[in-house]
Assembly symmetry: C2
Homo-oligomer: 419 residues x 2
């Protein structure tokens, strides 16, 4: 492997080794690399430990040309990255007046007092070229050693992201040839990974042309097809041909041919048609509304949401009749249909969506187990519900329930196209 | 470092190197290890590549006694872990009849047809001891090499979690001494990491006794104090003494002394008091309700939520007067107060909460920039609002807005205790 490895990510922080947080920084960085024709070959996570950091820098420097490092530049004493940097690169810390005045400026902008430990963040390794941080106090560093370039960035996600976009990625693009990797996504929903694989059929031909990855997630399975080659046009042709072969037997399950979540497609489609939607949530508890409102511009189509967690809320806000709940239970097809119709009527939107189910860990019975959900969509074309059973914990059940509802809305939009 | 490294995690999957998903599995595993007195020393992520997997297994086997591996056991062709396992451990695949019948059972339970590629998952390395997978199709393997134990688990989170809890962790606890690490958490909210650090004061004494980590997140900064030693009682005493010293100057910002999110504390507190809450969300778009409803048992205190994304919804559902919006704008203290009072009245709950702000990336002005939020809480004791300005992207702004609202509710609950 070593001879192919060219780009590595090193994530520094005890919090990553104690499970306090997931390494979302590395995921974001890897994605940005891929979008620009680079690829991360390895991600190594070590703690706030001088020896471990120095060893990881040395090992990565032997394998890779470019090393992206995040974390450990914060104000408190457990951030030892700067000390390790000075040891590995044989340099010293000096006070940088420009950095100090930038830190002063940041604190006055947020209107909060500056603490003296923030002043220490203006201490930077003498050999480093600095990358300004306009969203936080710690600047980034660029350092070289034995033919490899090391980019040190803060661990705070939005600070790191800005620094990657403004300095690191442009610098990489200027100084090293990106592989001409081209990607094509086929985003599917409502079909299992193994069934997709079977439906696509013989992979042998396809694998001779391109690389195919199945990426399962709550929103369905995304298929990423990657091709590389020196001839950009030939690569694009090969990618398109492979995509056509993969696509042909699974077309009804593909909601997008770029890497976007289903809710982003739905916001685009609804907005393009001038349609509006409102949601009534029981078991998803606000997650469905959260997914819509994560998309910039969603206010054009998303009118409102109701988290009708109690039966009283279902009756009062959504006009679900009490006898209907008494006869069928709150988790039932009859109730989810009434909720979808109710929220559509309440909000006077084109579409009404609803969820009711049992997310767990408690509340399941033999007939209505944990993981059971009913989802419904109402529109002027009519109203429909689906029943699904998933296996998972509370949070992953909520995710699957929300995507079951979004999938049903997508199906309704396609039906509307046909008529 | 190498001589201290005892436990390593290897995460396998192209999707982790292309940024498709964050490595939440490794975070969860590291957390579980810590809770049982173990500690992960390193996390290495490699792709679905036979050479890279074999090299990572060999390197980890040289450093560590226990290696936990996830990923690459799925049904499709890009999951090459099994092949690498056979190469590294010099063994072959055989069909296991028990695994095959378990796979049959799973598909019949979910009521979906079994595909023939799932049958291949009953092919397992001959030398492996198997760990059953009652939530999915791929069993886990335990294999030994050169004094190190390798645990292979599927990458699907809820399958891996079950396997860790039922087999891997009990096996580790039976076969190796855990370090007697004890942890104490001080979870804070509403104070910056650097200010916390200053308020706590001289760390030199504390650092002689214990290890202290600052863990910043959307819900505030958690301080983890860790102590280890052979004498369990002495370690506990030392930990308690250090916790008392850290606590003394920051008491007003501590919401819990165990590692829980603020919403979990609030659900416990509200439930214990027999109090109920309803939320009215504009800029947080359902996230606040989602956070409450992620907590099992939240239905006892969380009555309903309203995502009043449009002004019409604010007026119709929350009785916010149209002239109030016209005079102040939807993002204003006047409107957030009306929303909180409105939802409390609508739901007839003890507490009403509200958010209105500008999550971005668009919609900001010089006076009302992206990152501005007003949050409010209404109760029989009165009503109050706070204004904050954060710096971040849309999704992180929504997170910070939600925690600003939760923080205000927590302050109201403490005020109620005093009266």
């Amino acid at each position: 492997m070593s001879e192919h490895t060219q780009i590595e990510i090193i994530s520094i922080g005890d919090e990553l080794l104690t499970g306090h947080i997931a390494n979302t920084n590395a995921a974001w960085m890897a994605d940005q690399l891929l979008r620009r024709g680079f690829r991360a070959d390895r991600i190594t996570t070590v703690g706030d430990d001088n020896g471990a950091i120095v060893e990881a820098l040395a090992a990565a420097g032997r394998r890779a040309k470019t090393i992206l490092i995040t974390g450990g530049l914060g104000p408190t004493h457990d951030d030892v990255t700067r000390t390790a940097v000075c040891q590995f690169f044989e340099t010293l810390l000096i006070l940088d007046e420009d950095v100090l005045s930038a830190i002063h400026h940041l604190f006055s902008k947020r209107g909060i007092p500056m603490s003296h430990v923030n002043r220490d963040q203006a201490l930077v390794p003498r050999k480093a070229r600095l990358m300004p941080n306009d969203r936080g106090t710690a600047p980034g560093y660029i350092l070289n050693n034995g033919g490899a370039t090391f980019y040190f960035m803060p661990g705070v996600p939005h600070e790191m992201r800005r620094m990657m976009e403004e300095y690191v990625l442009p610098n990489m693009q200027g100084s090293m040839a990106s592989r001409s990797v081209q990607n094509h996504y086929l985003c599917t929903i409502g079909i299992a990974e193994s069934t997709l694989y079977e439906k696509i059929g013989n992979f042998e031909d396809i694998k001779r042309m391109v690389r195919v990855a199945f990426l399962p997630g709550f929103s369905g399975v995304k298929i990423r097809i990657s091709a590389d080659g020196d001839d950009r046009e030939e690569t694009a042709r090969r990618l398109a041909e492979a995509a056509a072969r993969v696509r042909q037997n699974i077309q009804p399950f593909i909601y997008a041919e770029e890497d976007i979540p289903l809710e982003q497609l739905l916001v685009s489609e609804l907005t393009a048609r001038g349609r509006t939607v409102a949601v009534a949530e029981s078991c998803t508890g606000g997650l469905l509304a959260h997914k819509f409102t994560n998309i910039p511009g969603s206010s054009k189509c998303f009118e409102r949401g109701v988290v009708s967690y109690s039966n009283k809320a279902k009756m009062e806000l959504l006009s679900v009749p009490e006898p209907l709940i008494a006869a069928n239970g709150a988790v039932s097809e009859a109730v989810v249909l009434a909720m979808a119709a109710g929220v559509r009527s309440l909000a006077a939107t084109d579409y009404g969506m609803a969820t009711t189910g049992i997310a767990g860990p408690d509340g399941g019975t033999a007939e209505k187990p944990v993981g059971l959900v009913y989802v419904a969509v109402a529109s002027e074309q009519g109203i429909g519900a689906r029943r699904h059973t998933f296996i998972g914990d509370r949070v992953s059940n909520k995710e699957r329930f929300a995507y079951a509802a979004l999938n049903l809305l997508w199906q309704h939009l396609r039906e509307a196209d046909k008529t």
